[in-house]
Symmetry: D2
Subunit: 342 residues, 4 copies
C-alpha cells in the first residue's frame, strides 16, 4: 500500500473544522497533514481534535511544509482566489469550498490558474456526493424516467447567517451562498444548462437583511437550454429545522430527495386531539456529512487514479453564473439571461 | 338491462344507515327496496335520506313485501341468528354484519339455516373489499413475496363504545367486536388458519370497562397451522384519531396497509421548535366506506352471476373462533387452542 | 323544518354528475329539483342515479319549472356567462363552476348581471371548503404563525385533458383551467393580492399540446402586494397519480396540505432491495368530493341564512386575472402585472 | 482542564471497532488509551485508524499498562464475566456491551464483582442514549401523556447472523441477542417491570436456524407488574433494510420512534403506475452511532462527576431475565414468569 496522501487544510473555521474531522476519520488513503489559519489559536484547537497535525500561520507556510500533496480550501470566499493561485503555483491539487469566488473575473482567474499549473480543481458541491442525490442522478440517467421536464429544489434554513456574513459583498448573498447548491443540482440532475432566470424576494422575517441588500426568502424560475423549466425556493426562517428537498418530474417518472416526512420520532401528547407531532430533523449536518466525506474521498481517489475530478471549476463557474443572474433579477426585476461560459 | 336487485335492510341504526346510503348511491344494479326497524321513526328518518323506500316494523313484514330479492342485516348481533333464519326461510340471499352471532351454537345454526335453504350468506368483513387490503392480498398471492411469515395488525379507536355495548354479552367484548376484523385479515392475508392464541389485556384508560368484564387494550399472539406467527393489538383510547394498520412480513417482501403517516395536513406553528404536527385521519369511515360499498357490490354481483359469495359464513365462524379463544386467554390466562370447525 | 331548497343543475357532464350526486346525497336541506342538458340522454342517465328529478333540454325550461330555488352551473366555461345571465334574470341564486368565464369582459358581465338582479353568485373554488385547506387557513389566521411570507402550491395530474379541451380558447389553457385553483389559494391563504407574475412552460411530455398553444408543465413566480412571494407549479404528466400540495411558510411556522406521503398502502416485494413502494393516492376525487359537498352545503346555508356567499364573483375575477397574467407571461416572456379589479 | 480519561478497549471486532472510533472522535474528555485483543493483527489495524494507541495481547496486559482509567468491553458475550472480574479487580470502571453474560449465574457474578470492587458497571443499552428514544422517555415522563398502557417494539434485520453466532449457546439466541434491546426499552419507557411473557417463533425464511435451536422471527407478549401490556416482534429477514420501531400508547397520548417512512429518497420511475418507491434507510448504524457515542460520553461524564452510571448491571440483569423467559416460552410453549432479581 502506498503512503497516505497528505492534505493541507486552509481555514480552521466552522466548515474547515468539519472537513478536517472528516479527512481525519473517514478518508482512507489520506491524512490531514497540516492546518493553516491566521488565527493560531483556532488552528491549534482544531489540530488537537484531529490527530495534531502541524499548524501554520499562512497558506504559504503550509504549502512549503513537507508532506502536503493537496489542499482543501475553506477560508472565506473572498480569499479563495488568492489561495487557489498559491496552491496552483505550488503544484498542489485543490478541493475548494463553494463558491469559487464572488466575481466572474476572480472565478475565471481561479480556473485559469489551476489550468495553467496543470493541477486539479474540485469545487465543494457536496450534495453531488450525498447518497440520496447520487441515487436520484443514477435513476434519471438510467433511461427509465424519460426526459427530465421540471426541476424543483428548496433550501429552508432555521435562521439567517450573521448580518456581516449575509452581506452580499462578503458571502455573495442568498443566491450565491445558499442558492448555488440548488443551481448546481439543477444542471447536474437535469443534465442541461440554465439559460434564463426570474426571481422575487422578500424580507418579512428578517427586515434587517434589507440593510445589507439581502433577503430572507426568494423564489426563482429557471429556463433550461432545451426548454425544460424549474423552480428554486430559498428561505432563512423555519421553526422546524433545516429543510432541503429536491424533486424532478420526468416524462416517465419522478425522483424525490429529502421528503418532509423524513424523521425518526413522533408524539401525540399535549396536542390538539387529532394530531401527531413529528420531530423534524435536528439538522442537516449529519445528512450532509456523508456527502462531505464522500466528496473528500472522491477527490483523493481522483488523484490516486490520476483522473480528472468529477466536479470541476467549470461546474463552479456555471452554478455561480446562475446565482448571479438570479441575484440580479431579485434586485432589478425582470428576467435575466445567464452569462454563458467565456 | 335487467331490473335492479331489491335489497331490504333490517336495522336502521348507525351501521344500517351507512349501508343504506351506500346501497342507494354506490351499488349499480341494486336498489334499496325496504327498511325494517322496530323503531318506526328511525326507519322513516333513514328512508327520507335514501329515496324513500317503504318501511316496515318487522323483518317478517319486510320479507313479505314485494320487490325484496335479498337482505342486508344490520341489527344488534344478538338478533342476527333470528334474522338469518327468517330470511333463509323466505329464500332470500343474505349479507350480514359481523359477527354472525355471539355463540358457536348460534353461529353454526345460522350457517346451517342458510345452507338448508340454499341461500347465499355473506359476512360483513368489509376490509376484504377495501382497495388497500385487496392490493395487499394480491401482492402476497402474486408469488413475488415468498411465504408470509409474520402477521401484524392493530386497531386503535379514539374511545370505547358505551358501557352497555362494551358488555361482552351484548357485543362479544373487545375480541369479538373489534378484534374479529384483524383475525379475519390474519386468515385471509396469511392464507392459513390460526390454531392457538395468547392474550393479555388491561384497563388503564377506562377502568369502568372492568365492571362489565371487558378491557380497553389488549395484545394477542397468534400461531398459524403452518408455523407462522402473528400479533394483534387492540385499544380504545387514542388522542389522534382512528388508527388501523396491518403489516405482513413474508420471506421475500413486506406489505403494509394503513401507514401512520397517512394524512393530508401538517403544520409547525405554535409548537416546540423542531417539530411538525401532522393531522391524523379524522376518522376511518371515509376509508372503510369504500370497502363497505365494494362489499355490497360484490354481494350483488355474486347474486347476478349466480356465483357463491366471496366471504362466507364459514369465514365468519373461523374468525369468531379466534376471537373467542383470544377472549378466553384474556380472562383465564395461558394459551388457548382455537376451536376447529365442526 | 322548512321545505328543502330546490337546486337545478345545468350541465350533465363529468363535473355536473359529481355535483348532482353530492347534492342528492350529502346536502341536507336541499334537493336536486331538475337537470338541464342539451343532450337528453345524458340528463336522463344522470337523473336515474340521483332520485329521478325532472329533466330539461334548456336552461330556460329548467328555470321556468316549479321548485327551482337556485342553480348550479356546470356547463362548459364558454357558456357560463349565458347561463348566469339567464339565472340572474330569473332571480335565482347561482353556484357556478370555475372559471366564471374565459374573458375579462364576460367575467365582469357575469358579476354585473348577478349584482343587478340581486342574486348570489358563488364560484366553485372547492378547495376552500376541503377540510385540510380550511384547517390551514384557520391556522394562518390564528396569529400563531406570524405573517405568511412564501406560498408554494402545485398540481400535477396524471395526464392532459383531450386536445380539444386543452385548447386555451375552450378551457382557458393550463393557467385558467388548472392554475386558477392555486391562484385562488394564493390569495386566500396569504390574505393578500398577487400583483405580478412570471411563468415558464414546456411541452416535453405532450408536444401535441403545442399545436393548440398550450403546455404540459409550467412554473410561476408570484409577487404579492405586501411584498411576499410565491411559486406555483403545474404539470399534466405523473405516473403516480394526482398530486396536489400546498405549503405556506410564515414568519413563525409553516402549514402543509397534501403531503406526498399521504397514502394507505406500501409494499417491498419484487423491488430493488432497500426500497419500499408506497401506493400513491388513486385519485384526488375522494379528497375533493369532501370539498365539493361542503361547497354545496355552504351555498345552501348562505341562502337559508340570507347571508352573502363566502366565495364571490369578485374572487373568481381576481383568480382569473392572475391566471391570465401567468398565461401571458408563458406566451410572451417577461413579468406581467396582474390586471386590477375594475 | 483535567487530563483526558484513558479508556482501554478489549475486543477489536466489529462492535469494538465502532466503539473505538467513537471514543477517538466523539467523546471530549476521554482518549482511547489502549486496545487489547488476542488477534494482534486486528488490534493493530484498528489502532491505525484511531490515533495509534498501544496494543495488548490480553486484558491483563491492558489493565497493567499506564493511563488506563476505565475499560470498554466488546469481546464475545461468553467472555464478558472474565473481563469484568479482571477489570473490577484492577479497580477500573466498566462499560460492557450487552448482554452482561449468557447465564443468570454469570450475570450475578459480574454484578457482584463490580459491587465488591466498588467500580462502576454500565451496560451497553445504547438506545437509551439515542436522541429519539431520549425524547420519547422525556415525553412519557413529562406528565402530559398520562399512564403508559401499551408498549410495542420491533426489530427487523435484513438477515440473520452467521449460524455459528446465532447458536443460542454463543449469542443467547434471538431473544438475548436481538430482543434484549426491546426488553430494556420496555422497562425503561414504561417505567415498570415485566413479570410474565409469552412467545411464538418460526423459521420460514431461514430453516437452517432450527439446526442450532434458534428462529428467524418471533412475537412476544409482555405483562407488566402494574397491569399494562406489551408486544415485541423480532425478525431476521427484510428486503428493505434495518427496521427498528417503538411505540407507546399512554392514556393521554402516544410516542413513536422509528417511523417506517423515515427516509430521504423516493422515486416513481420504472414502477407500476400509481406507486412511488421510497428508499428505506441504508442501515441503522448511522442512527445508533449517535446513541453509541452518547453512551460513551455518559459513561465518561458519570466518572468525572463521581456519580453512578445511568444504566446499571441491574438493568442488564433485568432485561436478560425477560429475554430468558421469552426464549423459554419460545421453546417450551405457554407463558413463563420472569425470574425476579435475587
Amino acid at each position: 500500500m502506498t503512503s497516505p496522501l497528505g492534505i493541507g487544510l486552509v481555514g480552521a473555521g466552522r466548515m474547515g473544522s468539519i472537513h478536517a474531522r472528516l479527512v481525519h476519520t473517514s478518508v482512507p488513503g489520506a491524512r490531514l497533514a497540516g492546518i493553516a489559519d491566521v488565527d493560531a489559536g483556532a488552528a491549534a484547537r482544531l489540530a488537537a481534535q484531529v490527530g495534531d497535525p502541524p499548524q501554520f500561520g499562512s497558506m504559504a507556510d503550509l504549502l512549503a511544509a513537507p508532506g502536503i500533496d493537496a489542499v482543501l480550501i475553506a477560508t472565506s470566499s473572498s480569499r479563495h482566489l488568492e489561495m487557489i493561485e498559491l496552491a496552483a503555483a505550488a503544484g498542489k491539487d485543490i478541493l475548494c469550498e463553494k463558491p469559487l469566488s464572488l466575481s466572474f473575473a476572480d472565478t475565471d482567474a481561479a480556473i485559469a490558474a489551476a489550468a495553467r499549473a496543470g493541477v486539479r480543481l474540485q469545487v465543494g458541491f457536496m450534495r453531488r456526493w450525498e447518497p440520496d442525490y447520487v441515487r436520484a442522478r443514477q435513476r434519471l440517467a438510467s433511461g427509465d424516467y424519460g426526459r427530465p421536464m421540471l426541476f424543483k429544489s428548496l433550501q429552508f434554513d432555521p435562521e439567517p447567517p450573521p448580518l456581516t456574513f449575509a452581506d452580499p459583498t462578503v458571502s455573495g448573498g442568498i443566491m450565491v451562498d445558499m442558492g448555488i447548491h440548488e443551481f448546481d443540482l439543477a444542471r447536474w440532475l437535469m443534465d442541461d444548462e440554465v439559460v434564463e432566470v426570474h426571481a422575487y424576494g422578500s424580507t418579512y422575517a428578517h427586515p434587517e437583511l434589507a440593510t445589507v441588500g439581502d433577503v430572507d426568502s426568494a423564489v426563482v424560475n429557471l429556463r433550461f437550454a432545451n426548454g425544460a423549466t424549474g423552480t428554486v425556493e430559498l428561505a432563512r426562517n423555519t421553526t422546524y429545522g433545516e429543510d432541503v428537498r429536491t424533486e424532478v418530474l420526468a416524462t416517465k417518472g419522478s425522483v424525490w430527495v429529502g421528503l418532509l416526512s423524513a424523521t425518526q420520532g413522533a408524539a401525540s401528547g399535549g396536542l390538539t386531539p387529532g394530531s401527531i407531532a413529528v420531530d423534524a430533523l435536528d439538522t442537516a449536518i449529519p445528512r450532509f456529512e456523508r456527502g462531505l466525506a464522500a466528496q473528500a474521498r472522491g477527490f483523493v481517489q481522483a488523484i490516486r487514479d490520476d483522473r480528472p475530478v468529477a466536479v470541476t471549476g467549470s461546474d463552479g463557474r456555471a452554478a455561480f453564473a446562475i446565482a448571479v443572474a438570479a441575484g440580479r433579477s431579485l434586485r432589478d426585476g425582470g428576467t435575466v439571461a445567464v452569462e454563458p461560459r467565456p
